[in-house]
């Protein structure tokens, strides 16, 4: 069993524009207005850098900003774990289209944005953090995989870490072929430090398959179309501010057991 503390949360999704506003929806006190697409205006990057970024990078940075608003840690002190099941479909589409044209005119900006760690690179530049950053993918179970790595970083490396899980709908040519058809971003700042106001989280990886925890239909739809939204049962439990235990499936044969003790 591993224990870490959740310091702050960020959330950006259709009808869930920020953690403060989202909690009422997650508690069932207000209906989800899923048609209202989130608007991305991350202020972390200077305008000249922001112009070179994509919707996925803006989603990641805006989600980070939401968590930073309630964090005691200066952003330059945070290590990070970036989790995206798909990476940047828009960039893949542009590069693969360019490769069908005469002389194959791949844009240098698209190419450097094509790396899976592009959002992490922009984050490092914006935050000034030279702490290490890992960018990973684990298919449908990407959120659980990222949470395991981030908790291990916080507990074993003894550094505060920002877990950022985000995915953006694939472009029309690739739609329906991957894991993502909706927009969702979640951030959690985890630390091994003890301090008032932090939420203790326990993690245990066990053998045996798990059924994903139930969600209201409108949230279950989001989860079915974006691996980052596997965080929704945990986020719902956190919004209710009580103790809770829940299980997340992890690659067919394993179960991630999470516990919140208040």
């Amino acid at each position: 069993m591993m224990r870490v503390n959740i310091e702050s949360i960020g959330l950006v999704a259709p009808g869930l524009p920020g953690w403060e506003a989202a909690q009422e929806v997650l508690r069932g006190e207000r209906a989800l207005e899923a048609e209202s697409a989130p608007v991305f205006r991350p202020t972390l990057l200077p305008p000249n850098e922001r112009r070179r970024t994509t919707a996925l990078i803006k989603l990641a940075l805006q989600t980070a900003e939401d968590a930073l608003a309630r964090s005691r840690h200066p952003m330059a002190e945070l290590a990070s774990v970036f989790v995206s099941a798909e990476g940047d479909g828009e960039i893949v589409d542009r590069i693969c289209t360019a490769l069908t044209l005469p002389d194959r005119p791949v844009s240098p900006t698209h190419f450097h944005n094509s790396v899976h760690n592009a959002p992490a690179g922009y984050w490092a530049i914006a935050s000034g953090s030279q702490r290490f950053s890992t960018s990973l993918a684990a298919g449908a179970d990407s959120f659980a995989a990222g949470l395991l790595e981030a908790a291990a970083v916080a507990a074993l490396e003894q550094v505060p870490v920002m877990l950022l899980a985000y995915d953006y709908a694939l472009p029309p040519a690739l739609a329906g072929r991957g894991y993502v058809d909706a927009v969702f971003g979640v951030a959690m700042i985890l630390t091994a430090d003890e301090a008032p106001g932090l939420t203790p989280l326990s993690l245990e990886l066990a053998t045996g398959s798990a059924v994903p925890p139930p969600l209201p239909p409108e949230l279950a739809v989001l989860r079915a179309h974006n691996p980052a939204a596997a965080a929704l049962p945990l986020l719902t439990a956190l919004a209710r501010r009580g103790s809770a235990t829940l299980t997340l499936p992890c690659h067919d044969g394993q179960t991630l057991r999470l516990g919140i003790e208040r």
Binding site: P105, S114, Q130, A138, L156, G253
Partner: protein, 396 residues
């Protein structure tokens, strides 16, 4: 708490030097480069590449047919080399399938499959071919998903994709998972295969050489792109001898997306963190396998970082002139070279380097030499400023 070394109880390599460690070793001893003029597909670029022979002929097991693409065929070659799959099967019997994790590094995964689907589309509109299986070929998780199914493993599995540091960073993440108790042993590895995206992408950044790449050379002018696969089985030594992971260090540049910090700040932080993790002083390192891509700015920044930390006392070389820059597979490929250096008492020379740049001062080996090696540092630095240094050696 100091880092508990993890034994590399089995490991494999496939690169332009051939299939398996014996081929790599023979080439290193004979001074034979794996680079050749670009004959990949119809790339039509005036450059040299490190291409693996025989990838096109690989047939995947029928149950894994949906994963069929160049990247996973190359992974299969790596899994079958050097008795690696058999060693993992024995470990699986010992630990149980759920107690072995899989951590694979790649930068472009199976993007060649998507490139080909777009080319078969006919124009820039309309649907992609129905037979194109994006999820099992190109999706970033593909190579770890393929590897765990190929080896029959059920532990934690993920792909790390941080450009050219990917398959060095898998050692750090796997170590954390073992320490955390999420698994008892780990298959770590890297696989990256030739594709038009990297050839034309690096070309668009004017980072591709027209000649075989020349690390640290006064006239170096860019990389030669290569492909490779490699794997290692990491487990607690339990009294066994062999080459072990002694430490790792990771950092971010926080400077620029595709250019390193000119004084090598991020590289220096990663190397220092690796020494701290291993509990070693700079003077205890016998050989440094440089990232050494042969672009003017990368080699300059790495030279600054290395000489700031080590002075000019530790012999260094880049092996990119042998294999090309294998991108997401560079970390594992060069970690395997580090293991060979320790096991064989050999320091690979920096092939193709002619006149060493007088502005660089790290002591570069131009010829392969036989010399006892106990501790190796292997550097990997990637786009987005993602840095990782590994320390490998005999357990103290």
């Amino acid at each position: 708490m100091s880092f508990e070394p993890l034994l590399l109880s089995a490991y494999s390599t496939v690169s332009a030097l051939g299939h398996g460690r014996a081929s790599a070793l023979a080439a290193l001893r004979a001074g034979r480069s794996g680079l050749r003029p670009c004959d990949y597909d119809e790339a039509g670029l005036d450059t040299w590449i490190g291409r693996v022979d025989g990838v096109e002929d690989v047939a995947l097991p029928a149950a894994l047919a949906p994963f069929d693409c160049r990247n996973n065929r190359l992974a299969a070659l790596g899994l079958e080399s050097d008795g690696f799959a058999a060693a993992v099967a024995a470990a699986r019997a010992r630990y149980g399938a759920a107690r072995i994790g899989v951590f694979i590094g790649t930068s472009t995964s199976g993007i060649e499959a998507t490139e080909q689907a777009y080319r078969r589309r006919g124009g820039t509109e309309g649907p992609l071919p129905a037979s194109f299986d994006y999820r099992h070929t190109h999706n970033t998780f593909s190579s770890a998903d393929f590897t765990r199914r190929y080896l029959g493993l059920e532990g934690p599995a993920l792909v790390i994709s941080t450009a050219c540091s990917s398959s060095a960073k898998v050692f750090a993440t796997a170590s954390r998972h073992i320490r955390a108790g999420w698994c008892d042993a780990a298959v770590v590895g890297g696989v990256d295969s030739l594709c038009l995206t990297t050839l034309y992408g690096f070309n668009s950044l004017e980072l591709v050489s027209h000649q075989p790449c020349r690390p640290w050379d006064a006239a170096r002018d860019g990389i030669s792109i290569g492909e490779a696969a490699g794997f290692a089985l990491l487990e607690r030594p339990a009294g066994r001898d062999g080459v072990a992971l002694l430490g790792y260090g990771e950092s971010s540049d926080a400077y620029h997306m595709s250019t390193p910090h000119p004084e090598g700040e991020g590289a220096l932080l990663a190397m220092r963190a690796a020494l701290d993790c291993a509990g070693l002083e700079p003077g205890q390192v016998d050989y440094i396998n440089l990232h050494g891509t042969a672009t003017p700015s990368n080699d300059r920044a790495e030279d600054r970082a290395v000489t700031r930390l080590f002075g000019t006392a530790v012999p260094c070389s880049s092996t990119k002139g042998w294999t090309g820059h294998t991108l997401g597979a560079a970390g594992i490929t060069e970690a395997v070279f580090g293991c060979l250096a320790v096991e064989q008492g050999l320091m690979p020379g920096s092939l193709n380097t002619g006149q060493i740049d007088p502005q660089l001062s790290a002591p570069l080996l131009r010829e392969t030499v036989q010399r006892p090696v106990r501790v190796v540092m292997s550097n990997s630095f990637g786009f987005g400023g993602s840095n990782c240094a590994l320390i490998l050696g005999r357990q103290p």
